[in-house]
């Protein structure tokens, strides 16, 4: 039996600490990224909320629109500037489509951050191989910012990135700056355009254009699950241990705090035990169809 009978008073229990309350945040900037994808920068209206808010790369917020509902969206901005929360959103469901109709100055409800982050500290002194497709780069961009913050702490850094077409690639105007700081960016597309100079083909094939040191490489991947399966396959084939392969998963996260049950993956709740997992932790369940 749990011992919970004594501590707090009723008023304390029922106070405004209810974990699912959201705070209004204003859109300060909207940046078109690709077709039906844009990055929304948000700032909490309440200064004390804004000042106390911090997030780590890989975490997500629940975004809310009155009359519409909530959706979990990754933070895609620099964690060193937590006053500006960047969310790269594809207009897909009812909430994100409604967000697509908003303008700078409009208000969105925000609660968070939730979830387990990418293991930044574990990356120090290591080579880092980031493998991602499409909008999967969004939750990994904060990792790149964190690395750039102290670039000398990390070994070689690769970004293997793919999208359907060159026009679908995110953050391309930042790639040059990243490459200048010694992040090697390899790009691939499913369908090339006339001016395309990068690779054509699926993302995992980019592994064949780099050489990884299995003794000191950490792989981080986020994208469609089928892509991640093959990323894991290629990483394991290069003898990278499964404890050093990290994946970020998508499930139907409704509450964000492990109470509503929707996002279960076997023994875990993706909202609080994930979305970032060491592959070793979910290996037995990841490959089970429809689990």
């Amino acid at each position: 039996m749990l011992d919970f009978m004594n501590p707090s008073t009723l008023s304390e229990t029922m106070s405004r600490t209810y974990p699912m309350l959201m705070h209004p945040a204003r859109i300060t900037r909207i940046r078109e990224e690709a077709y039906a994808i844009a990055t929304y920068e948000l700032a909490f209206e309440d200064e004390s909320v804004r000042l106390s808010y911090h997030f780590q790369p890989g975490q997500f917020n629940m975004l809310y629109l009155p009359g519409i509902g909530e959706a979990p969206i990754s933070l895609s901005s620099d964690p060193a500037q937590p006053g500006v929360m960047g969310h790269t959103i594809r207009y897909a469901g009812n909430v994100t489509q409604a967000i697509g109709r908003l303008q700078v100055g409009d208000v969105i409800g925000v609660r968070g951050p939730y979830g387990q982050p990418w293991p930044i500290d574990q990356l120090r002194g290591q080579d880092v191989c980031i493998v991602t497709g499409g909008i999967g780069l969004a939750p990994l961009r904060p990792v790149i910012y964190a690395i750039l913050q102290q670039r000398q702490d990390f070994g070689r850094v690769f970004l293997l990135y793919g999208a359907r077409t060159p026009a679908d690639m995110l953050y391309t105007d930042e790639f040059e700056a990243w490459e200048k700081r010694d992040i090697r960016v390899l790009q691939t597309v499913d369908r090339a355009a006339p001016t395309w100079k990068g690779h054509v083909g699926v993302v995992p094939m980019l592994f064949y254009h780099i050489r990884l040191d299995p003794r000191k490489t950490v792989v981080l991947t986020c994208g469609p699950e089928i892509m991640m399966h093959f990323v894991i396959y290629e990483a394991l084939a290069r003898r990278i241990p499964k404890e050093r392969i990290f994946v970020s998963l998508e499930r139907n996260m409704k509450c964000g705090i492990g109470l509503c049950g929707h996002c279960q993956l076997g023994p875990t709740f993706v909202c609080k035990d994930g979305p970032v997992y060491p592959y070793a932790a979910i290996e037995p369940f990841f490959a089970v169809e429809d689990f």
Partner: protein, 372 residues
């Protein structure tokens, strides 16, 4: 009056009519009585005023996909087992308003829904059900985030447990070690004998309630009879489940052909999750006025058997009945242990009785063990 107050842990006897004075004492302490009563063609849990509202002289006959009320040939007060309701509907209501969001001046305000939590006295909580409450305690109060509404209701609740002496045909609490005797955690624990109730005092509040009741120390013969009845009940369970190595058994059989067979029968109707006393999944709905100015966030029970439960953009994670039944049963009997340190099943048998096609969780485990 102190000499009239039994100690915690004491067994006392009362005449059956004296249950009424327990009810009176609870009401004087400000409790709303919730107990078994006839309704909707079954024995359900609802607000009761006194002993007259209890289904005295009634019993239930249950089997897979079958539930029928029958007259008993005696006037037993608790001569039945559990029906379609469980206590979770009072601690974790099926519909619960969480907050109101009002648009104003281009922004909006968020006002949590705060209400004085009800002070419930649960009358007739069976062993399996008390364990179910302890399991939901772990779910809602044991993690980094607590459900404040559940916590308030739970802290105030009074539990009058009833030990089962006549298990039903779908009961298997003995397998799950949750009954027939109700475990610790009750305020008063009652066992019905032919002419008297034997009551075990479980808490300070239980003592206080008993101080207003005509009781006497339970006699040796009464205690002996009680123990015999409970031992007999343990041996007459309608169902049995072998729980050895359960998590491993299911994790190792995620592709067992039995999942295909059960999926051919399962209607994915969600009855099992609605009647289950431990199932806790919920959704939050947005309820707006016509202008969209005032919006309420309302939590409602949800079920892993619904198709949209696992919806993400691009499809559903569990599109087939096979995957949804597997999720439910694997959660109950395997991943629940990883998540909350206990099985998610208490052996109450409700999912067997209320399944419209009579799927039997004990039978499914036997099949996956390869013992049919």
């Amino acid at each position: 009056m102190t000499e009239l107050t039994p100690d915690i842990g004491a067994y006392v006897s009362i005449d059956k009519e004296a249950l009424e004075s327990i009810f009176r004492g609870l009401k004087q302490e400000g409790y709303t009585l919730i107990g078994p009563t006839l309704g909707e063609g079954a024995i359900v849990y609802d607000e009761i005023d006194g002993m007259d509202d209890l289904p005295i002289g009634w019993t239930d006959r249950q089997e897979a996909a079958t539930y029928r009320l029958h007259r008993r040939d005696d006037q037993a007060v608790f001569g039945y087992v559990v029906g379609p309701h469980s206590w979770k509907r009072f601690l974790f209501p099926p519909v619960q308003k969480l907050m109101t969001i009002r648009k104003q001046n281009g922004s909006f305000s968020v006002e949590p829904h705060v209400e004085e939590p009800p002070r419930y006295a649960f009358i007739g909580v069976r062993g399996c059900e008390l364990q179910a409450i302890h399991i939901q305690d772990r779910v809602f109060l044991g993690g980094p985030y607590q459900d404040p509404d559940y916590k308030a209701r739970r802290q105030l609740a009074f539990v009058l447990a009833v030990n089962c002496t006549e298990p039903g045909a779908t009961c298997f609490c003995a397998s799950m070690d949750t009954g027939p005797k109700a475990g610790p955690g009750f305020d008063l624990g009652l066992t019905e004998l032919d002419d008297v109730f034997v009551i075990e005092v479980g808490s300070e509040m239980g003592r206080r309630i008993m101080s207003g009741v005509r009781w006497r120390p339970a006699g040796a013969f009464e205690l002996q009879t009680m123990r015999e009845r409970l031992t007999q009940a343990e041996k007459s369970m309608g169902r049995h489940m072998d729980i050895s190595d359960l998590p491993a058994l299911l994790y190792q059989n995620l592709e067992h052909p039995r999942w295909d067979q059960v999926a051919e029968r399962c209607l994915s109707c969600a009855n099992c999750t609605m009647v289950c006393p431990t199932c806790f999944c919920s959704d939050v709905q947005e309820v707006s006025d016509l202008l969209g100015e005032t919006n309420e966030r309302v939590r409602v029970w949800d079920s892993c058997f619904s198709l949209q439960f696992s919806h993400v953009h691009g499809g559903n994670i569990r599109p087939h009945v096979r995957s949804r039944y597997r999720q439910w049963m694997t959660h109950k009997l395997a991943s629940w242990v990883d998540q909350f340190g206990t099985l998610g099943c208490v052996g109450c048998g409700r999912c067997i009785t209320w399944c419209p096609v009579g799927i039997d969780i004990t039978e499914e485990i036997t099949a996956i063990r390869g013992e049919v």
